[in-house]
Amino acid sequence: MNAPAGSLLTAEGLRKAYGPTVALDGADFSIHPGEVVAVMGPSGSGKSTLLHCLAGIVPPDAGSIMYAGRELATMNDAERSALRRSEFGFVFQFGQLVPELTCVENVALPLRLNGTSRKEAERTALDWMGRLEVDDLAGKRPGEVSGGQGQRVAVARALVTGPRVLFADEPTGALDSLNGERVMELLTDAARSTNAAVVLVTHEARVAAYSDREIVVRDGKSRDMERAV
């Protein structure tokens, strides 16, 4: 399979095993700038592993991952970390905000990791918090805000560096439907406004409905539903 024209992030033939457990067994993927792609599939099918490989968090055992003309699979850990810091953003289900830092410090964290000064970073962070309607929580600690608010803070943190790809792993998994939808709306709006691609791992159809298309992962193999039809 050749990388589709204009694709930002393309993977083919990904294989990954954790010990005897095969998580990915020849999975393919591609996403365009500004596109929201849902990764669906039953639990244990390898969705999260696919996301981790695509994001350069874990190196695949085999296969190739091309991001903007660069091969991720052969990068070393430091290069992949640098890529994640500058080009990618992340939202997880829970346990992601640093409990000791205030919300605005949490949002500013990725910028500061990139070497931005504290003042500058926190100004940008506050700006993003405003876009996700949580700027009034700036001085609070994560333990003092609700789940939905915390998740929006996390989205703000994921977008604060202006990433080209946003990886979201069950971003609404711990929220009720109202909060979950609000987070999804804000997330997709914000991503579209910056033309960021979103890789959205979810098992919920109503969350996946915020995507442009979906990919199904079953038994470590991927199935691109658009191309299959």
């Binding site: 159809a205 109503r206 409905a209 915020y210 979906e214 199904v216």
Partner: protein, 174 residues
Amino acid sequence: MSIGHTLLGLLESGPRHGYDLKRAFDEKFGHDRPLHYGQVYSTMSRLLKNGLVEVDGIEAGGGPERKRYAITDAGITDVEHWLATPEKPAEYLQSTLYTKVVLALLTHRDAGDILDSQRSEHLRSMRILTDRKRHGDLADQLICDHALFHLEADLRWLELTAARLDKLRAVVAK
């Protein structure tokens, strides 16, 4: 639910008498509504006319129910096409989907594919509803939500069925 496609699918595993067909249908899909002989008879003559089945032989003693039918190549293609085409999302879809899944298992096709394409079809509808909801007023939102929750219920059932395919395969193979 298409009785014609279902009977065709049942014939794929081998030629059968009309009476056998009715019995197999009732056993696997009839549940509370058994098929009438007349229905089988009329359906089979329509399929014969369209060239999807052929008469394999007639047993002594006469009577329409003693005819043995076999599926033709055109018939197999027709079943194939029917299974691969996702159903338009609608209420009370499950009997059709269930029939498709069971037939796929009976004819050793990949039932997971049916589920995947159906999910894709559902999601297509859900995307449209979600989009309308985001740009509409509160009334739109409430109406769309209702539809979305129904579609989601279908999909959840689909996921559950997918998770239980192995069990179902064992039951169907009996």
